[in-house]
């Protein structure tokens, strides 16, 4: 009995006095034993499962449960490990975690102490990128309507990049060749590593506060691994870029090679595939500009020439007008008018006169009919005493021996009265 009881301490009833002491374990001891066993057996394991009950505490430690269809295990991720995660942990996320199994004595739970976590299916950076992309897109950081156009000819260009390496050299060379008019302000930063995001953020914010002084900012970095470019996938950099743009200084992002797209690229007003391309796009080319100026010069001259020709044609069209072409025409016309009126007047006068003449002739005819001379024609005559004017109408008026003048139709007679017959006699 005592043998078996020694083998099975948990079944051992309280030791009778005097019996060989059976070692009973305290809960703590037992727990410690279990812990040892577990820690030894599961010091470094990879486990895959789905995250649920995810909680992030104020302390920065992260708690969750990893589960599959039939089982679950509690997990803890300490702050230091959690801080290294680039992506956001959330319920339902399929992950691969690495850690050790141990016991949390106060609760008697065994749990997985996670020191690394990777999303399944995607790389961790890729997942982090997608998560941040979605978040910022929802916040409207990438909205096309927020993109600010680049200045056509910047006077001052800010560059946020490393002062070392080929990137800045290439950019300065291109800028110097294309557009030496622009002043370059470089804000040197480290472009990878722990401090890079904060340095880049600060530099971009500075330029954002120099609106009106600096016309455009280029945030640049040469090619590298996804890890190298990571600073440009940080939220704070994206917000700094938007803030700079909202302040009136548009930002060009030029990170890595053509295939590399970073959050900064989406947040920026314009993405250049490479830093060199950014330098090309930010300024005009002076050769092209000179050509443009030449073109405009020609157009200016051409436009003026045609304007002058236009004016000349206008003037000439005036000159072709009869008034200018035959200046005497009007006067001649007037003269003709006067002439016409004159002749009209003349005709009217003629008419008037001839009418009067006709009337006169008529009157004359009528007068003529009444004329005594007309009577004389018919054989009558007029007789008056010589020296008197009154016509003789009676023989009483003359005496023998008077001289009488007799007017005939043609000619006159002078005769002397030889006898007088009284009017009564003649009738008898």
């Amino acid at each position: 009995m005592s043998q078996s009881s020694a083998m099975l301490p948990f079944d051992t009833p309280p030791s009778p006095p005097g019996a060989k002491a059976v070692s009973a374990l305290t809960v703590s001891q037992l727990t410690a034993l279990i812990r040892e066993l577990l820690e030894e057996a599961f010091d470094d394991v990879w486990v895959c499962g789905e995250i649920s009950n995810h909680k992030e505490h104020m302390s920065g430690h992260v708690y969750f449960t990893l589960k599959d269809e039939t089982a679950q295990i509690r997990c803890v991720m300490w702050r230091d490990a959690a801080k290294r995660l680039r992506f956001r942990v959330h319920d339902g996320l399929q992950v691969l975690v690495r850690g050790r199994v141990s016991v949390f004595p106060p609760r008697g739970d065994y749990q997985l102490y996670v020191r690394e976590m990777q999303p399944r299916g995607l790389g961790p950076l890729e997942l982090a990128f997608r998560q941040l992309y979605e978040k910022l897109q929802k916040l409207g950081l990438f909205a096309p309507e927020r993109k600010r156009p680049l200045p056509r000819v910047p006077r001052r260009i800010g560059i946020v990049t490393s002062p070392r390496g080929a990137v800045i050299r290439d950019m300065l060379r291109i800028l110097g060749r294309r557009w030496p008019l622009a002043e370059i302000w470089i804000r040197p930063v480290t472009v990878q590593g722990e401090t890079a995001p904060a340095e880049i953020t600060e530099a971009v914010r500075w330029f954002g506060r120099l609106s009106g002084v600096v016309d455009v900012v280029i945030v640049a970095r040469g090619g590298g691994s996804a890890e190298d470019l990571w600073a440009f996938n940080e939220e704070c950099v994206a917000f700094a870029i938007r803030a700079c743009s909202e302040n009136g200084v548009p930002v060009i992002s030029a990170v890595g090679h053509e295939v590399d797209w970073t959050i900064a690229d989406y947040a920026a007003d314009k993405r250049a595939a490479t830093p060199s391309e950014a330098a090309e796009m930010v300024v005009p080319d002076q050769q092209e500009m000179r050509q443009l100026l030449q073109t405009w010069k020609r157009r200016l001259e051409q436009a003026l020439r045609s304007r002058v020709q236009n004016a000349r044609r206008h003037l000439e069209s005036f000159l072709r007008h009869p008034v200018f072409r035959r200046p005497l025409q009007r006067i001649k016309e007037k003269v003709q008018l006067v002439d016409d009126l004159g002749s009209q007047l003349h005709h009217a006068m003629q008419h008037f006169l001839s009418e009067r003449k006709q009337k006169l002739a008529l009157l004359t005819g009528r007068l003529h009919a009444l004329s005594p001379l007309q009577v004389l024609q018919r054989g009558y005559s007029l007789t008056w005493k010589e020296g008197e004017k009154a016509l003789l109408r009676s023989s009483d008026e003359v005496a023998v021996g008077d001289c009488l003048i007799t007017q005939l139709a043609r000619g006159c007679l002078r005769s002397r009265v030889e006898s007088v017959q009284s009017p009564g006699d003649a009738h008898s």
């Binding site: 070392r164 030496p180 008019l181 370059i184 010069k297 436009a303």
Partner: protein, 105 residues
């Protein structure tokens, strides 16, 4: 704006401003219903703006500064920027080498 006033503002124009203004004059002259006198003014201004643009281009010499920080008043603090020594050296060495060569030949 009188011709004198125009001349005064001209020298203060940045390249872009001059360019924009020039574009306006060209456009006005080409498509505007300008009187002959206005057209001449327009042309004269255009020529002056062209001259200003060329002048700026000819006098251009790229300045590169380092933004050191912002003052309390928010003004930029800058100092001349030069590429780091260790990288600039090979280029210079090559230059001086070729200069030396050309001397000896």
């Amino acid at each position: 704006m009188t011709a004198d006033e125009f001349d005064q503002t001209l020298v203060q124009l940045s390249f872009e401003q001059a360019l924009t203004e020039l574009e306006k004059q060209v456009d006005a002259l080409e498509h505007g219903q300008l009187g002959l006198e206005d057209a001449l003014v327009c042309f004269e201004r255009g020529v002056k703006l062209l001259r200003r643009c060329y002048q700026l281009l000819e006098s251009a010499e790229q300045r590169v500064q380092e933004l050191v920080g912002l003052s309390e008043r928010g003004e930029a603090v800058v100092r001349p920027f030069s590429l780091p020594e260790e990288e600039a050296t090979p280029g210079r060495a090559a230059n001086s080498a070729s200069a030396a060569q050309s001397k000896t030949t």
